[in-house]
Amino acid sequence: MLQKKICMLGGFSVGKTTLVKRYVESVFSETYLTTVGVKIDKKVVNLPDRTVNLILWDVAGEDDVATIRMSYLRGMAGYVVVADGTRPATLDVALSLRERVEAEHGHIPFTLLVNKHDLLEQWAISDAELRSLTDEGWSVRTSSARTGEGVEDAFTDLANRTTR
């Protein structure tokens, strides 16, 4: 049995919790987010050679980076930073979150998930911008919590990289 601790980070209302809610195994209610500041779920990812249980720590502390309990990030094998493709400001939050994590925990595999890709007419982040991040070696993916687009792939990819 292989487990990996993955933290879910991201700005306010980027659909982080919805992602977790729709595509993973949930046990605890969302009130944990407001009370304890973290909600833990499990995502089972089947890789060709093995199965990985991703233990997802959905960490509260939305726009303000300072409000995240950094102790919750301890020992994680990877993380997902979620941004909202219709609100460019959430991308800035995601970038600053990543910087902060990098500074504190060093280089850990991560994925930038630009969510709400189903709302194409409201999409406000240019492909060029995302491409420049990809060029820096980032794993950048678009996703939609509503249609499920890109979600499985993102988790599979992250699971792959954390077990490599």
Binding site: M1, L2, K5, D41, N53, I55, R69, S71, A77
Partner: protein
């Protein structure tokens, strides 16, 4: 020489390509050279002369650099300071390599380290104290805390059970088996089961191993273990506790969650029921053993629990305990307990009956007193084990002390205080009337409701007295009815009385015996007196007849008096002779003092010489 040239070439080529010389080849070359130079040496194939300036020259030529470095090395090895410097440069790396290979280094070093530590402590214990202080203090604190917890737990249990029926039974068991009461209480009350045990990696919060009891249910243990770590972090952050401190226990209804933290892993037990403090020790021992046996794997854990193949079995064996409630043992002394209980019960019942009987007797006594005329009870009570009663009592009423003696109550336990008063109860009024008026025997009284009715006969005089007495009674007193009482002066008795009193027996002058003409009169008188006596007896009337003798005024006074007495005596004797009871008759002499007529004439004087009779009824 061709061979030697080839060999030299080969040697030179070899030495230029590799840093180390082929010593065998060099030896063969040198021997060949020697043989070619001096043929006398041809027979000594392998021997090299000890010192030969030419060879030395060749050696210097060929091996100058190696000889220098050999000299430097041997100097380093021979000089202790140099050697120490050289070893110190490679020692850390060497130890690091050795410890990763296997555990031999630890085993080899252990005795030396122990000796060194001992020496250090002997020379200056303070150093070691300073080193250990931050480690030992929390451990001591925790140990003392748990000790106090255990004491409180046993104290609580003892208090809770000391007064109940079950507590008494356990006290009996403790006394019988010779162990402390607290131990017995714990043995009976600490029923628990460890339902889950989680071994959680501290750094990542990932689950290393999980075991559950057969009937235990829970959510996904992987998620739960992470959540437990998150909650630990949350509490630690919220209350800014140190890294080594955390949640030791959580309680949720019947479930208790105990957490034991080690260096790399935390052992969390979910317990249903009432675990003893000693379970902490079990958890700690298990965790320590896992750390000792798999410290390396725990340190480098990255989410793959395959590195801990038999930890689950270990947890199951040592932690998944269950303590069932012990079946109730049948007491070996049921008959003894039973008989003791019966004796106590019988004694109690006896006491109860005695008490009840006395209370009943007392109630009866009080009831009797209440019914008794002339007694008014104003207070009844019990004080210091004694009955108390008091009120008003007519002096003519029954004596309470007398009544008490007939009740079988202990008079010493009864305190009485009575105030005198006069009651209007008909019985009492009658009693008082009888005492004051002394009614004649021919009279009887009966009480009818609020009336006292008198029946029978009484003399006029008595009736007069009674009427006065009744008039003097206060208002509210019972009515005394005398209307049914016959006046003795009327009726047959009255007629007889009148007839007897009208008769006179005449005497001649200075004679003490009646004249012969009076015989018939005496007969008639006697007959009437006999009738009177009989009638009085039948009417229960006491009748007294006084026979009075008289004389005329002639002659001396004293002789007249004795003459009159003699005349009364004579008449009584004559009446006795005629069958009249002499006890009925009393006699007296009146002399000339009660004349019937003034003695102016002889006829008058003759009339005064007589005996008269008076009849009185009581």
């Amino acid at each position: 020489m061709a061979i030697s040239a080839n060999a030299l070439e080969q040697l030179l080529q070899g030495s230029s390509s590799a840093s180390s010389l082929d010593r065998k080849a060099l030896g063969r070359l040198l021997a060949e050279l020697a043989r070619s130079v001096d043929t006398t040496l041809a027979g000594q194939a392998s021997e090299v002369p000890r010192f030969d300036p030419r060879l030395e020259q060749l050696r210097t030529l060929l091996l100058g650099r190696e000889i220098e470095s050999l000299a430097r090395l041997s100097h380093q090895i021979d000089d202790p300071e140099e050697l120490a410097g050289a070893v110190s440069r490679v020692l850390p790396a060497a130890i690091a390599q050795a410890s990763t290979r296997d555990g031999t280094l630890g085993e080899v070093l252990a005795p030396a380290v122990e000796r060194a530590t001992r020496t250090s402590i002997r020379s200056d214990p303070q150093t070691l104290v300073n080193i250990l202080y931050p480690l030992i203090l929390p451990a001591i604190r925790k140990s003392i805390g748990e000790g106090i917890d255990a004491t409180f737990q046993s104290l609580n249990e003892s208090l809770k059970h000391s007064l109940s029926w079950r507590g008494l039974r356990w006290r009996w068991e403790a006394w019988r088996s010779g162990v402390s009461f607290a131990t017995v209480v714990l043995r009976h009350t600490l029923v628990f089961q460890v339902e889950h045990a989680f071994l959680i990696h501290r750094h990542t919060g990932l689950l290393i191993a999980h075991v559950a009891a057969d009937d235990a249910v829970s959510q996904d243990p992987q998620i739960i273990s992470s959540m437990l770590v998150a909650i630990q972090d949350f509490v630690r952050d919220s209350f800014t506790a140190g890294d080594q401190q955390g949640l030791d226990a959580l309680r949720l209804g019947e479930l208790t969650l105990w957490s034991e933290a080690g260096a790399f892993a935390t052992l969390v037990a979910v317990i249903r029921g009432n675990p003893p403090e000693s379970l902490h020790d079990t958890l700690r021992e298990t965790l320590t053993r896992i750390h000792t046996e798999r410290g390396q794997a725990l340190q480098t854990f990255s989410g793959d629990s395959a590195a801990f193949p038999d930890v689950e079995a270990q947890l199951r064996e040592s932690v998944l305990l269950r303590q069932e409630a012990r079946p109730v043992q049948r007491s070996r002394y049921p008959s003894m307990v039973l008989s003791l209980a019966v004796i106590v019960l019988v004694l109690f019942a006896g006491w109860l009956f005695h008490w009840w009987r006395d209370e009943r007797r007392w109630d009866d006594y009080v009831g009797q007193l209440r019914a008794e005329p002339g007694i008014v009870i104003t207070d009844v009570g019990k004080h210091h084990g004694k009955w108390e009663i008091g009120g008003l009592r007519d002096p003519l009423a029954a004596d309470p002390r007398q009544m008490l003696r007939s009740t079988a109550l202990d008079p010493a336990r009864v305190v009485e205080h009575w105030q005198p008063y006069q009651g209007f109860n008909p019985d009492l009024v009658l009693k008082r009337l009888v005492g004051s008026l002394q009614p004649p025997t021919g009279l009887s009284f009966s009480v009818a409701g609020d009336r006292i009715v008198a029946r029978g006969s009484a003399s006029y005089a008595w009736l007069q007295r009674a009427a006065t007495y009744i008039r003097a009674l206060p208002d509210g007193a019972p009515i005394i009815d005398l209307s049914h009482v016959r006046d003795l002066n009327q009726g047959a008795l009255g007629q007889l009385r009148a007839s007897i009193q009208s008769m006179e027996i005449r005497f001649a002058h200075n004679e003490s015996l009646p004249a012969p003409s009076e015989e018939a009169k005496l007969d008639q008188l006697a007959s009437q007196l006999r009738d009177l006596d009989a009638l009085s007896a039948s009417l229960h009337v006491v009748t007294r007849v006084t026979v009075t003798g008289h004389s005329d005024a002639t002659g001396k006074g004293t002789s007249n008096l004795s003459l009159s007495l003699a005349r009364a005596e004579a008449v009584r004797a004559l009446l006795k002779k005629r069958g009249v009871d002499p006890d009925l008759l009393s006699i007296r002499g009146a002399g000339p003092l009660e004349p019937l007529e003034d003695e102016a004439t002889d006829a008058a004087r003759s009339a005064n010489r007589r005996v008269s009779l008076t009849v009185a009824f009581d």
